[in-house]
Amino acid sequence: MRVPSFSCGARALAGTMLAGLCLGGVAHADDAANWREIETKYIFGFTTGSGIGIEGEKEVTVDTIGRFGKRDGRYNATETKYEFEFTPSQFVQIEFGALGSTHDIRNVTDLDDRRQLAFGGGFGEFRYLALERTSNNPLSVTLAFEPTVRLVDETSGEQVHNYEFETTLNADLELVRNRLFAGFNLLYEPEYTHTLLDETIRETKLGVSAALSFRVTPNVVIGGEVWYLRHYDDFALSAFTGDAVMLGPTLYVRFTPKMFMTAAWNTQVWGREVGTPFSLNLAEFQRNRAKLKFAVEF
């Protein structure tokens, strides 16, 4: 089994986090109360914070999610969002963009061998800030709706027509002012796929996550997150097929007031597939996933 991407990726992220901690030591004498407030949307890794940006602000981002490892063979797939986001009011954020995908699959059960780079489709996102944080209320909550159309199947790389409607609740809590934040997501993601063989597939992913992020310096935030994901072969959540727990570190670095990056690594630590004796769920989920995002605001 080839798992170098796990060890390399995890080590690289751990190394960067260690460097962040060291920098944090240097900045320890700083009074965090005097730091500028931080936008929480991207500080929790795969877990999305409640931030919706600043009215009038625009942002261009490149956001890549990689998925690595199935039960056998070689499986590496990525999906990159080329995204434009803007905040037209103090309560609403809108995003849209195009998707690019890569698949490198060899000798994986139930998947065809494939090496391809493709235009993957497009997406839009509408975010509404339902509860805002103030100095007297540490909790902030945002509702997000993200319709996506894919021309390439996320998992197999096959040509399909796939329609997904991701609905999430993004909440975060400022535990220690300007320093320590907890993030929570609820996910409901139904999708409908029409294949070239004229098959139709209805499935739903349901998830919940919790994350903890510590701001070690004004511009570096490190943390960890855990996701519990369930998969169903219908929209009504009655045909349960399996679940998984994913766990890993997160990193956020702001390079300049208008430029930042965020990275995360999740490894499946527990999972089950209905009707099989396997210990992980590698049919519907992957062994590891990584996220790397760069953004420029203007």
Binding site: E39, T134, S135, N136
Partner: protein
């Protein structure tokens, strides 16, 4: 057909809900706050406003270079050119302390206290 009508009704309701805080805010009398910016500092550094009313900042930049009035918690930003004035409209706010700063100058900080 029924499903389509229901979906449209729900979408319209969601849009109206989303816009509600904005329409409510603009219908109320706004509190106007005058701030000047000179030698890389806000004057005054702390300003006050009543809760649950919209706020209008009038920021006069007296310096010879542009500044950007910005606040994460107020969720506003505005570049104010040298020797000019910028107007920033803020929604009705709950009681609390809201920090603002010049995004081009790390040391220029101020706060709005809503009570």
């Amino acid at each position: 057909m029924y499903v389509l009508t229901t979906t449209r009704t729900l979408a319209l309701a969601a849009l109206c809900t989303a816009m509600l805080p904005l329409s409510t805010a603009s219908a109320q009398q706004a509190t106007e706050i005058q701030i000047s910016y000179s030698n890389g500092q806000f004057q005054p550094r702390e300003v006050r406003a009543p809760a649950d009313k919209p706020v209008v900042f009038r920021v006069r930049n007296l310096d010879g270079k542009a500044m950007e009035f910005e606040s994460t918690s107020l969720r506003v930003e505005k570049v104010v050119a040298a020797k000019s004035q910028g107007v920033i409209n803020v929604r009705a706010l709950k009681a609390g302390r809201y920090e603002f700063y010049d995004d081009f100058n790390e040391k220029a900080r101020g706060a709005l206290v809503v009570e």
